[in-house]
């Protein structure tokens, strides 16, 4: 009788010790990943081996956090490509499907904070250029509404991006294919880039991002749609994970009216070049000399 309780106690003790050991090991390895993330270099200063190591660690972290296997690409830019975007204002109906396609594709925080990279504003006819007359929160029964125009605005991927110039730690830069990216592991969260952007192209993770695990997109790029951490800046990357694999950005695919066009500005036969050469094209706030690679046009 006594023996058995003794062994039971021993068993319990052993089990709890084991659990303790496992827990402390777990927490140890967790701290180790955190320490490694803390000491991690700037993405552009990493060697190939260091990049691989960072990817492996991230994939492990995401698996632990979301229970899903991520595939994180670091595919570099193709030097024969300079991406350009066209938006047909005569076709945009303000349905905002692009906004939600973007949120889903790019793993943006759904609530607290709710983040969106595209903002579709409503303007009364006759006040297109003066963005101070925009309406942001409108909810009509049916779109389009007579007397109004809709203008989606997102990162314009400027040739002279003011946001890149002001960053005190070079955490954001312009890739050779023209995409302006952020190293989320290098951003210190000062939000200077947000103050500098004339297009409101950047948003901030004011709190821990919230994404329902079942809605996660696991095909990601290191500089694009991988899940972010709290208190870093993020932005549109023209869906870097898609366009570097020969696909269209999610917003282009989602647009029901075909108002969104995308292509290589260096290719004279591309659709975007055709639009620039043949349509009535303008860019936002051109007087600021930012040289956006986002072209608004009218097809009708």
């Amino acid at each position: 009788m006594e023996d058995r309780s003794q062994t039971r106690r021993d068993f319990m003790k052993m089990m709890s010790m084991g659990a303790m050991a496992a827990l402390s090991l777990g927490s140890l390895s967790c701290t180790r990943a955190q320490v490694e993330a803390f000491l991690q270099k700037h993405f552009r200063e990493m060697t190939e081996a260091e990049k691989k190591e960072a990817i492996r660690r991230l994939e492990e972290t995401y698996f632990r956090k979301y229970g899903k296997k991520f595939h994180i690409s670091t595919q570099p830019a193709d030097t024969a490509v300079l991406w350009g975007y066209g938006l047909d204002l005569s076709r945009c109906i303000g349905c905002r499907r692009c906004v939600y396609a973007c949120v889903k594709e790019n793993n943006q925080s759904r609530s607290n904070p709710q983040l969106q990279w595209i903002r579709v504003v409503r303007l009364k006819d006759g006040s297109l250029i003066n963005l101070e007359n925009t309406e942001h929160y409108y909810n009509p029964e049916k779109v389009p509404e007579p007397g109004f125009q809709y203008m989606p605005v997102q990162c314009q991927h400027c040739e002279n991006p003011p946001c890149v110039r002001v960053c005190p730690v070079h955490a954001t830069w312009k890739e050779p294919d023209g995409i302006v990216v952020v190293d989320y592991n290098w951003c210190i969260g000062c939000r200077y880039c947000m103050a500098a952007c004339p297009y409101k192209g950047r948003v901030f993770n004011w709190g821990q991002p919230n994404i329902p695990p079942e809605e996660l997109n696991t095909e990601v790029h290191y500089l694009g749609n991988r899940p972010r951490m709290k208190n870093v800046v993020e932005k549109c990357t023209f869906c870097i994970q898609r366009v570097r694999n020969g696909r269209y950005p999610a917003c282009v695919e989602a647009c029901p009216t075909g108002a969104r066009k995308f292509g290589n500005l260096l290719d004279p036969d591309s659709e975007i070049r055709y639009i620039i050469e043949n349509k009535r094209v303008f860019r936002l706030k051109e007087d600021l000399n930012t040289e956006p690679k986002f072209y608004y046009f009218f097809s009708a």
């Binding site: 803390f38 700037h42 200063e45 607290n112 904070p113 903002r119 504003v121 003066n130 963005l131 101070e132 007359n133 925009t134 942001h136 605005v153 003011p162 110039r165 002001v166 960053c167 005190p168 730690v169 070079h170 955490a171 290098w186 951003c187 210190i188 969260g189 000062c190 939000r191 200077y192 947000m194 103050a195 500098a196 952007c197 004339p198 297009y199 409101k200 950047r202 948003v203 901030f204 993770n205 004011w206 709190g207 821990q208 709290k230 208190n231 870093v232 600021l288 000399n289």
Partner: protein, 416 residues
Amino acid sequence: MEAWIFFKKTIRMVFVGTKVYYLWCAFLLAIIGIAISFYMKQLDAGLIITNMKDQVSWGLYLGNFTYLVGVAAAAVLLVIPAYIYHFDPIKEIVVLGELLAASAIIMALMFVLADLGRPDRFWHIVPFIGILAFPDSLLAWDVIVLNGYLVLNTIVPIYILVKTYFGKEPVRKYVIPLVLLSIPWAVGIHTVTAFLYNGLAARPFWNASILAPRFLASAFCSGPAMALIIFQILRKTAGLKIKNEALFKVAELMAYAMFVNLFLLGAELFKEYYSGTIHLAPMQYLFQGLHGHDSLVPWIRSAMVMNITAFLIFLIPATRTNLLTLNIGSLLIIVGVWIEKGLGLIVPGFIPDPLGEIYEYLPNVNEIAISLGIWAFGLFIFTLFMRIAIPIQRGDFSHSKYAREAGRTQYERSNQ
């Protein structure tokens, strides 16, 4: 060895004091303690606990930062008359003025740290260890000039104080070049801080070439106003010797600065309102309200009343040389310029945002608590500085006195 004894004695000094001293320190430490608990909350949840949003992405923290850089820069208003024009009554307080500047810079840097979303990555901005984007980013410039100014404003007073402790004259050859350097440097810190905002074409409210001069003019009012109040308190409580003459001289200089400040503001108001372009919107939001949004209007209007009243008080010799009206004027300037340079400068820069949206920002309890904590910390540091500096300047805390006492005990010991 001597230096070590000096250091040990200063440490012992800050732990002893009068009842008022203990109460004051306990009061400040209590505020700091509360602020730390709020800051832990911010570290845990993120900046979401503040009232800032994507539309207004800088708020109370950066407002305080800007104001305090101005306070720090204003130490030159004491340095110039003391060292350039050899105005003796001010010479006695110039060391204290420099220590006030050092405390202000420490607070300013703490406000930047409080505003950083990722303070754990602070090392990314440290030159050589991280990547400092110099000369591209004005924030990188600010890091360099602010830290340089901090070093300058601690080295000079510490050197003078240590020399005084040992009963020696500071070597002018060392002090004067550093003091002379600190004058353009003070202008530099505030200019760079102005350029931080000024250089952003996306924000027409800041993108006016008059911004840096306005910054300097308002700094030369608020910094000395703070010094005037603090020196009078120290004169009452810590036995600081300071003549009324010195206070009145500073007040006279402040009258000029306030005139320039109000003139530049008027120049900017004229340009915006007379041309009445789209760039008027932030100014309208601040002074009149825009599309029914007007939460800053009562603030800026009261700030205007305070600044103009203070200007008149400092302009008229009778009220300038009356301690009661002088103090009222100083308090009006401290608050008035704080509103103008804090809420009144940072927030309207973001309203309306680049896509025309209006989000009305006012700081919440968390931001106010953390800000008060940083102010309390700065005052605490300054109190400790004063605890050492004033007795040294008065001659109560000196090496000869210590040596005499040490010699006596040694003599007594050898006699036993």
